[in-house]
Symmetry: C2
Subunit: 328 residues, 2 copies
């Protein structure tokens, strides 16, 4: 295992310490290392909290700040955070207007956020499940929540910043999730530090279509194909799943899994965009980068969100987080 | 070779096409794929142009835009751009106030930018050579220019935006370069698509201290060490080389080489910051991410720039590029 670490048990806390020090103008750690919270809370705004297993950075901590999340709860690597993390985070950032949890659909995450919701007052939840690759997976009943979660957090975050109420934010989050589809492809496995060896085996000439962000099995194992063919298979699944909704303006998001450099991500963007536009969809907004990662996995996912005018407005609204920043 | 590509010969053009389409609000391709230029030129501003071999993305194309570069010339992967690329770029973005070339110290780059400077009127050049690892390297006489180049481009870019003249910009660029030191460490090699195999061999338990951004040999091959020890060796070299200048306020920049995920980069930031601050230097500004990459190399570099008040002001100034954006 080749990683920049000191001791396996300290990876998360030391990385969080570095993260908080590097972005002290935006955020701070709370409760030791239990949660990352926005430095300056906005009174009367609905608080947005997300979280999940670590190893997907910059999701979610890198999305804490003006116009996105008020707090993020990092679990151990690929392990759900605990209900007390979420409860403490909610108590720390709730300014009286209620709390919306944004939860990727994994059994542990959903269960623990539900327990936190029962203990806290005035919370609602949006469950993201944008991954079209498979129904029912290693850690999931139904579809997995993957990179589309960032899109939900951005749009709902901007709406919360603009003063939208809790119930409307939940409805908006559900609507964005429903308009969003993703699918990934892995070229290599990732290695969890505590395991010290690759999460799964994959041959030198193979890739895994529909891989999950923890290396969960996808749709099929295949020989490596050209980028255009990979983009076509993924986009066909996405557009097919959207059905009649696959028209109009869209956000196209190419997400790296951690070990894939920008030169390849932009090439995949080029391949995906050609396919999407050939299907009569207008790529109105774009995001390319490693935002929802799987440690050191080589690979990427493609996310498409069909935009309505309100969603597009909130996507464009100012944001100031460690990983996403514009307009301020 | 596991990469998202179609054909080896098309990697650069397809990636540039994707890049330009994803960031059409900021930049456009010029002369086919000869250069990337800022979409809206500012009349009367000194034009800043950089460039170099591709494979280091987002450097330099991702740094084109308001407050940084006016154009970037991408060579083939790990190959210098040609003088006609630089000349065409200069003709396209010079609005009459002259052109400053910012050039990483590699023999091919320096020679070709010099030839372009001879053909164009009113140009000056800043040569960056921030890498303390080695004197005279595979492609370099003297020290190599590496991640510190981004710092030069940001600070000089802001000054140009603010209306500073050509000679003063050159002096400022030279001053920033002189205040900047970098050194890298590789955990794996990178693979150039046209070669199809790793650029160099490195054992499963080894790392290369002082590696160049093309995989050039560094100071020494060593067994993998804890992050703190790696940071200490690199920072000792940097601080030692700065000598009496190693005091006051600094920018600490942890740069990923392409295949190292954020969780490790922030952990390295934590290790480096502890060391730097223990030496009485104030880490006043921070940057953590994969900005000056070496294709799919796993590894990182540490850059330290000793800041004066003017440099800090220009670092903080608004910037709107694909890779760096704040204040607007």
């Amino acid at each position: 295992m080749k990683k920049f670490i000191n001791a396996v048990d300290d990876v998360l806390t030391e990385s969080l310490d570095g993260f908080a020090a590097a972005h002290a103008d935006i955020l701070a750690l709370g409760g030791g290392h239990k949660f990352i919270q926005r430095k300056e809370l906005k009174q009367g705004k609905v608080a947005l909290i997300s979280g999940g297993g670590s190893g997907h950075e910059p999701l979610h901590g890198g999305l804490v700040g003006h116009g996105m999340l008020d707090a993020a709860c990092p679990g151990q690597i690929f392990t759900s955070p605990t209900p007390d993390q979420m409860l403490e985070a909610a108590q720390a950032v709730d300014t009286g207007a209620g709390v919306l949890f944004i939860v990727k659909n994994y059994e542990g995450d959903v269960m623990n956020f539900e327990m936190a919701a029962e203990m806290a007052d005035g919370t609602m939840s949006v469950i993201t499940n944008d991954d079209v690759a498979v129904e029912d997976s290693l850690y999931t009943t139904g579809r997995r929540g993957v990179a589309g979660t960032l899109v939900v957090e951005k749009i709902v975050g901007a709406a919360a910043e603009a003063g939208m109420g809790l119930a409307d934010l939940k409805a908006l989050g559900d609507r964005v999730n429903k308009a969003t589809r993703s699918m990934g492809v892995a070229l290599t496995s990732c290695t969890v530090p505590a395991a010290g060896k690759p999460n799964f085996e994959i041959a030198e000439d193979e890739m895994e279509f529909g891989v999950g962000i923890h290396g969960e099995p996808g749709r099929r194992r295949a020989k490596l194909e050209p980028a255009d063919a990979i983009a076509e298979e993924i986009c066909t699944a996405i557009v097919g799943d959207l059905g009649s909704a696959a028209k109009g303006r869209a956000l196209l998001f190419i997400n790296g899994f951690g070990a894939t450099p920008a030169v390849e991500l932009y090439l995949m963007y080029n391949s995906a965009r050609k396919f999407i536009e050939a299907h009569g969809i207008t790529v109105a907004r774009s995001l390319v980068g490693s935002y929802v990662t799987s440690l050191d996995m080589a690979g990427c996912s493609i996310t498409l969100t069909m935009l309505d005018a309100e969603m597009e407005k909130f996507w464009d609204a100012p944001v100031h987080t460690a990983a996403l920043r514009w307009g301020m």
